[in-house]
Symmetry: C2
């Protein structure tokens, strides 16, 4: 059996109707609502075929039919043409045009906007450090025994760690150590700093201090470990309550399942980092790696800095989500973020 033109049209109509109403679609409803040029009986036959082909599912004997994950996949890949991207692009650009000094605030805003525009739950993860190079390290004296380590990454994300030394280090030595660390570490990707390099650097620092010093071990340990932190990726999310608008979440148990899934930031990180390949990625229903969201779809996009993917953003909603508006919105936001990052956080120096 073949997926002819008429079948595709009927399937498309069913998908549109189901996305809109959230209720199983019957042949008669369909023939009244959409001008398909054939009677309900014919539609009935075609629907029966579509079910056999795996594109439709019957919730029960007399309830009409519902699109399967396979149907949404076909729809997203082959039927859907996304328009309005430039419309959303301009709209988002206008809203985002505020202060963008602080990465954190900027992403929080983006997350809110994404949720508001799509009416789904937005997810954003902040730049990954491991893939980013270190640009500048500075040890700032805070007071006698305290040193603030300021790390500036290639993408101008700043990371601070406050270090509690057991005995003070004089400021001039601190500066020398700063310079040394800069010399040795800048330009390196964080996951490339290995043990032998650490030891080499430690040795050199000892020569500055003219003696072995336990505090240096301490400092190096904190520096390296905080650079290597993988699980500390920041997660921003907004619009959780948007999910409650959908009849599929009329049930407290369903809400709990979704909520506890999204509240666990580890899940979000794993989910968003799953597919790193494409700029735009859509996973539908059971394609998702987590069972808890096997009735959800996820649209994600990357954002980049100097061509390197440094973060991801996206929306999660029921599988019957409105792909035709959600996709261009995600794309438009991702483009905007890319541009703003390039413009506002970009370094002058050629890499």
């Amino acid at each position: 059996m073949e997926l002819n033109n008429r079948k595709v049209n009927i399937l498309k109509a069913i998908i549109h109707s189901y996305i809109e109403e959230g209720e199983a679609v019957g042949s008669r409803t369909l023939s009244k609502k959409y001008d398909l040029g054939v009677s309900s009986a014919t539609i009935r036959n075609e629907m029966s075929d579509l079910e056999e082909l795996g594109y439709l599912i019957k919730p029960h004997t007399s309830a009409g039919r519902v699109p399967s994950d396979k149907a949404y996949r076909l729809y997203v890949d082959n039927i859907l043409i996304d328009k309005n991207k430039s419309k959303y692009y301009k709209q988002i650009k206008k809203i985002l045009q505020e202060d963008i000094n602080e990465m954190e605030m900027f992403l929080r805003n983006s997350s809110r906007i994404l949720a508001q525009l799509t009416k789904y739950t937005s997810l954003i993860i902040a730049p990954q450090f491991k893939k980013s190079k270190l640009k500048h390290v500075q040890l700032v004296p805070v007071s006698g025994r305290k040193v603030l380590i300021v790390m500036i990454m290639q993408n101008n994300i700043v990371k601070n760690v406050l270090l509690n030394l057991k005995t003070p280090i004089p400021e001039n030595q601190l500066n020398k150590i700063s310079n040394l660390l800069n010399e040795k570490l800048t330009g390196l990707r964080l996951d490339m700093i290995d043990l032998s390099m650490k030891n080499r650097i430690k040795k050199e620092i000892y020569s500055i201090r003219n003696q072995y010093d336990q505090k240096i071990d301490e400092l190096m340990k904190v520096l390296i470990s905080s650079l290597n932190e993988y699980d500390k990726i920041d997660v921003y999310s907004d619009g959780l309550n948007n999910m409650l608008n959908f009849p599929e979440y009329n049930d407290t148990e369903k809400i709990r399942e979704f909520l506890s899934f999204v509240e666990d930031k580890d899940n979000i990180v794993k989910l968003l980092l799953k597919n790193t390949g494409e700029d735009l990625d859509i996973t539908i229903g059971h394609e998702n790696i987590f069972d808890e969201i096997s009735k959800c779809s996820l649209i994600t996009a990357t954002y980049k800095f100097n061509g390197i993917t440094v973060g991801k953003l996206g929306v999660i909603g029921p599988t019957r989500m409105d792909y035709k508006t959600a996709i261009p919105i995600v794309k438009a936001l991702s483009n905007n973020i890319n541009e703003i990052i390039e413009k506002n956080f970009k370094d002058q120096i050629k890499e």
Copy 2:
């Protein structure tokens, strides 16, 4: 009519029963469950009195009775004796004993622990800047046109702002400006930096640069404005899905109301900053300033640095929350946080 001993005992039994079961309590159930030494008929009469006095509410004619906000208030203020504080204190101390270099991570952890222990929704707001003094400013050169402003507050919270200059400032001048800013601004409370001071400082910076310079205006503007930010208080929350365990949230509409309230960080900030006076504060039901949570109670505590309140933490749950365990947990966590902040973020220098 007077609130005699027997009435108080009956009320206490009703409150305990209702906190435990979540269902309206009847006279017969009560006489079976608790040994009150009188018959159900007597209890019935007393309950009728308690209703007249405003401590009990009848959901409908034949459904038993439910404690009013006034009843919980009496219970919390006069009936409840909190034990187990030291038990929870030790338990939390053990859990928190991890890396506490980063304030953000530390508070996020605390928030998770609070939600897990209480089984309610936890809320924490991070140190308020306005009330904190500036300890150190450092301008770190990132690259030609970019300068990172690192501000270290008295409580060792660090704040970064990346500044995009239109023309570069040489590093030696940057250092001089850093020194000048330190000299002029450290020790001042942020809300005390006024316009005339700003102008004086600007003048001095100009003299370093030997000329009027539009970029200095820019720098000062960013510096001051980012110091004065009030609405950027960080909010941490966890255990949203805990609320779904309560039968009062069996209704999607109720969940939505709660969720959209808590998702809005502005609400949380306003809520927690409402009462600044007491170390421990409990607001019950309609005592809350927001209608959306008029069926919730809130237990908050402060955390301090050098005796100054710098943040708040607490739990929110249904009015029939288990005060007798939630209160000591909040207290115990607040004590722990206080100690950890004192120990790990405390400066050597006497203020």
